[in-house]
């Protein structure tokens, strides 16, 4: 199964303290600096919508957001453009991009450390219903890929996968590791080759 348009969302450690307003100038500054290899275009503010996409940095190849879908606040990387390589490569690319955004936000002076990521919980969505319909067959086909990937991401540590089974929703998985990881540790695990290509 060809997995494209991978979304990775890392949950915020302290959602009750998070204030999304400062993200607007921060995301604008990312556009000014073209802080990513991807083309960054604009900022969309959906804070007024309950459990919505929050603040979105719109890009050509991908969007970044601090997203509150399902009332779970997190940094979300939404890959829009198709990518070559293997499924592992695409999972890795999306996760690395999400982690890089988390690192950038954690070190953002204007946030004063108020946005921290728990490094224990993340969600992966596959934003293409035709390639990855949300049904048992997809879960069965994709789970080995996911296991391999998370094995590497969590350095061999334990984790649990929880699927959303509403067939109308995107195929997605909620992943919880048995312990908290620093964002940098997850990035290291991705980079050191623990995650296979």
């Amino acid at each position: 199964m060809d997995l494209q348009h991978v979304n990775v969302k890392l949950l915020v450690r302290n959602p009750e303290e998070a204030d999304l307003e400062p993200l607007i100038p921060i995301f604008h500054s990312w556009i000014q600096d073209q802080a990513s290899e991807e083309l960054l275009l604009d900022v969309a503010d959906y804070r007024h919508v309950d459990a919505g996409p929050g603040v979105v940095l719109i890009g050509h190849q991908a969007n970044y957001s601090v997203d509150n879908t399902d009332n779970r606040l997190g940094v979300r990387y939404n890959r829009k453009a198709a990518l070559g390589g293997s499924n592992q490569d695409r999972l890795k690319q999306a996760t690395r991009s999400a982690l890089a955004a988390c690192q950038r936000l954690e070190s953002e002076p204007s946030l004063n450390g108020r946005l921290r990521f728990n490094g224990q919980e993340l969600e992966v969505f596959f934003n293409d219903r035709l390639l990855a319909p949300n049904r048992d067959a997809t879960r069965k086909a994709v789970e080995p890929e996911l296991r391999t990937f998370f094995q590497g991401l969590f350095g061999g540590g334990e984790y649990a996968l929880l699927y959303n089974r509403d067939p109308r929703k995107l195929f997605s998985v909620f992943v919880k590791a048995s312990r908290i990881f620093a964002v940098s540790d997850l990035m290291d695990n991705l980079s050191c080759g623990l995650c296979p290509s």
């Binding site: 060809d2 494209q4 348009h5 607007i24 100038p25 604008h28 556009i31 000014q32 073209q34 083309l39 275009l41 604009d42 900022v43 969309a44 503010d45 959906y46 804070r47 007024h48 919508v49 309950d50 459990a51 919505g52 996409p53 979105v56 719109i58 050509h60 969007n63 997203d67 879908t69 399902d70 829009k80 453009a81 198709a82 934003n127 293409d128 219903r129 035709l130 390639l131 509403d166 109308r168 929703k169 995107l170």
Partner: protein, 751 residues
């Protein structure tokens, strides 16, 4: 952009109405032709606009990032989808929803599309449409296929066409209506969609239906064609009919619609609308788009003269069975509830009480109510759309509509289900109280995504909403009932002219810097179908607008006379007093270190007008002749593809059709009612262009026309690969010659 785009067509085969599937195949080919440089960008722009595919801010590849103008380096840098509009730049997809009526499956489809092609948000517009933003043009054919499978079309959602037919969302259930206009707006919408008489307008054309004259729900007075239900007694029999209004519109200068006919029978509704469309197409301005709406034509001619022209045109129309075939069924049309009627529950929680007070409206059918789902800034998430689909399935027969106030209404809710409904909505953040109150602010997209936006209408609306919500409990009843509407520029998409407090975006230079402002427009009338328009008072810096609202509402509470409505209060106060009251707010604070005034609400960048683009609202004025020639080119392209695939017969048929279309386009220059029949087209073409030698090439004479005549003679002869190869070449030459002929004739666009 989406990997699965090429797979959806097959996946949806059999699920999409054939006619829609065919139209989308054509659109897909047009995209391909444009990519290959075989379709002119201006023509392609109007083609996509007529499919609801709109440009968005920064699509010229430049954006002011707050410090400098930044080049946006899109991958397909050279390819455009319209003049100065880059292919890869994200755009907006408008989705037409006649009368705002949807079912649960359609809500779910919109949810899927918002997630997969947009940014997770579906936006309800002030004309009951939906909009998805940040959509890549390559995804639009697939997006449309998925909509078509749910029986939704985007055709003529933009461009110089008949736009969404809007209607009172309470039609059929409102206690004050004369009769249910639902079957009539549906019939008109279906009849005018793609109608040949509606393809050659200089600008857009917006119809609206209302079931009564006193409420605001359909705003017929500000529409190109407004229809209000009336009844008349004739020979002791009560007959349904419509007051028909023409030439209303907002825009820069608002025009009240004028009464065209006090009583139009349902049997005459469609033919009269068709005749109006024909007069608009023939007489309306084409070159100066600022004067191309029908309101200018009606105003210039006077309604009497306009009526005369329409009636003359009506008399010439050949009868069409569609005019009347719906009428009998319309009389019988009834919407049904799912659950039995019930009693209003006792409100236990204060939140539920507040919601009941503002978001519930009784139906004329006892025991049922209409519940409003108030959407902040017209936005709804994919998850909320799915939840709404579940709710309307469970509690009603999927009777849900969008409103011009950018909300949803759920009709036919049994009163005994209200607590269940409230809890279900509350669980997904859709139980906001304050529907139809000062909190329920209408706004256009403004600088967030619109190329014409000057100030941030959504930013201002969000800020006002936040502040007003904080003190909503203390607000006087009279203030609660006021309407605020915000547009990002003078074009009135936020309908600021018909609000108690209206605002539209402008800019002023202060201290050497551009400062975002809003022009204050006070005292518009929302009721009586937008009965009268407000008057501009003064321009005020964006950041001072919340204080303007505070002062005006407090003064209204303090000084209004018994029962005085806001409009009368403003009139009594007068411009001079308003100026005294607000003048200090027109200035910036003396302390210039406060830089917040130099940026807009929700946008920290230093304010600039550098991102303003050319709006696509007016579309491209492309004559029907050009469309016919473009169709011919597409068909000959498809013929070549079919030939390469070994489909000889189909290739031959397409090549011949392409010649017919090119000839038809030329005939249209002289004869706007060009027939559909190929034999007649050939005859008309021969008489008008061959015998007169107008078609003749200076060097080749009538040779290319003879190819066409010969192809027409051979239509019954079986095709062979060799004959088709020649035919395709001849068709290409004939189309080229048709272009040359059209150019030589320097055809005016008004054909």
């Amino acid at each position: 952009m989406k990997t699965s785009n090429s797979l959806w067509k097959e996946h949806l085969a059999g699920k999409t109405p054939e006619i829609l599937a065919h139209e989308l195949d054509i659109f897909e080919t047009e995209l391909e032709l444009r990519k290959q440089g075989k379709l002119d960008e201006r023509l392609f722009a109007e083609t996509r606009l007529r499919r609801g595919v709109y440009g968005q801010r920064y699509d010229n590849g430049q954006r002011h990032d707050g410090k400098k103008v930044q080049e946006l380096a899109y991958p397909s840098r050279e390819l455009t989808k319209g003049p100065n509009t880059l292919w890869d730049a994200p755009g907006m997809q408008r989705i037409k929803i006649p009368g705002g009526g949807l079912n649960a499956e359609q809500l779910e489809t919109l949810a899927e599309l918002a997630e997969e092609y947009s940014d997770g948000i579906a936006h309800v517009t002030t004309r009951q449409d939906f909009q998805l933003h940040y959509v890549h043009i390559d995804d639009t054919p697939t997006l449309m296929r998925r909509l078509a499978a749910a029986k939704i079309t985007t055709r003529e959602a933009c461009g110089n066409s008949v736009r969404n037919v809007t209607a009172c969302p309470y039609a059929g259930v409102c206690p004050d209506e004369v009769f249910d206009v639902t079957p009539y707006f549906r019939a008109l919408s279906k009849f005018l969609l793609g109608h040949p008489d509606c393809q050659n307008f200089g600008r857009k054309f917006k119809p609206a239906f209302s079931g009564c004259s006193q409420h605001a729900c359909a705003l017929t007075n500000m529409h190109d064609l407004g229809l209000i239900a009336v009844k008349r007694s004739e020979n002791g029999q009560e007959k349904r009919g419509f007051e028909m209004y023409v030439g209303g519109g907002l825009g820069t200068v608002p025009y009240q619609a004028k009464l065209f006919d006090a009583f139009v029978l349902p049997e005459e509704l469609l033919p009269l609308a068709q005749a109006i469309a024909r007069v608009f197409a023939k007489q309306g301005e084409k070159k100066n788009r600022n004067r191309a709406r029908i309101k200018f034509l009606v105003n210039d001619l006077g309604v009497e003269r306009f009526r005369k022209l329409v009636l003359e045109e009506r008399a010439k129309l050949p009868p069409d069975p569609r005019w009347t075939e719906y009428v009998e069924a319309a009389e019988q049309f009834r919407e049904e509830p799912l659950r039995p009627p019930g009693q209003l529950p006792s409100a236990t929680s204060p939140a539920f009480r507040r919601w009941l007070k503002t978001n519930i409206r009784p139906q004329k059918q006892e025991g049922y109510v209409v519940a409003t789902v108030a959407l902040p800034l017209g936005d709804i998430t994919a998850n909320q759309l799915r939840a709404l689909a579940d709710i309307v399935r469970r509690l009603t027969k999927e009777t849900v509509r969008t409103t011009v106030e950018q909300n949803f209404v759920i009709r036919w809710v049994s009163q005994s289900d209200l607590l269940e409904l409230y809890n279900a909505l509350d669980a997904v953040g859709l139980a906001e109280p304050g529907a139809g109150t000062i909190l329920d602010i209408t706004t256009c997209p403004g600088t967030d995504t619109c190329k014409l936006g000057i100030s941030s209408s959504r930013g201002l609306a969000a800020e006002l909403r936040k502040r007003l919500a904080e003190k909503s409990f203390q607000l006087d009843e009279a203030v609660q009932n006021l309407h605020i509407k915000v547009s990002g520029c003078f074009n009135s998409c936020g309908q600021h002219h018909v609000a108690d407090l209206g605002f539209y975006g402008v800019s002023r230079k202060m201290g050497g810097y551009a400062v975002p402002h809003f022009q204050l427009v006070l005292g518009g009338e929302w009721t009586h179908n937008a009965g009268s328009f407000g008057l501009p008072v003064m321009a005020i810096p964006s950041k001072n607008i919340p204080e303007v609202v505070t002062r005006l509402t407090e003064r209204y509470v303090t000084n209004r006379k018994n029962g005085e409505v806001f409009r009368d209060f403003i009139k009594r106060l007068g411009k001079a007093e308003l100026k005294n009251m607000l003048e200090d707010l027109t200035r910036l604070p003396a302390d210039q270190t406060d830089r917040s005034f130099f940026s807009d609400w929700g946008d920290p960048r230093e304010f600039s007008l550098g991102d303003l683009g050319i709006g696509e609202c007016a579309g491209e004025v492309v004559s029907c002749v050009e469309f016919d020639l473009a169709t011919a080119e597409r068909e000959v392209f498809e013929a070549q593809v079919a030939f390469d695939n070994g489909e000889t017969a189909r290739a031959g048929e397409l090549a011949y059709q392409s010649m017919v279309h090119a000839a038809k386009g030329l005939v249209r220059i002289e004869f706007s009612d060009v027939p559909e029949d190929a034999e007649q087209i050939v005859q008309e073409f021969r008489t008008r262009f061959y015998d007169t030698q107008k078609f003749f090439d200076p060097f080749a004479g009538g040779k290319f026309a003879q190819y066409f005549f010969a192809a027409h003679q051979r239509t019954k002869t079986p095709h062979t690969p060799e004959s088709v190869r020649y035919l395709i070449e001849e068709a290409q030459l004939f189309i080229e010659a048709s272009h040359s002929c059209y150019n030589r004739m320097a055809t005016p666009v008004n054909v």
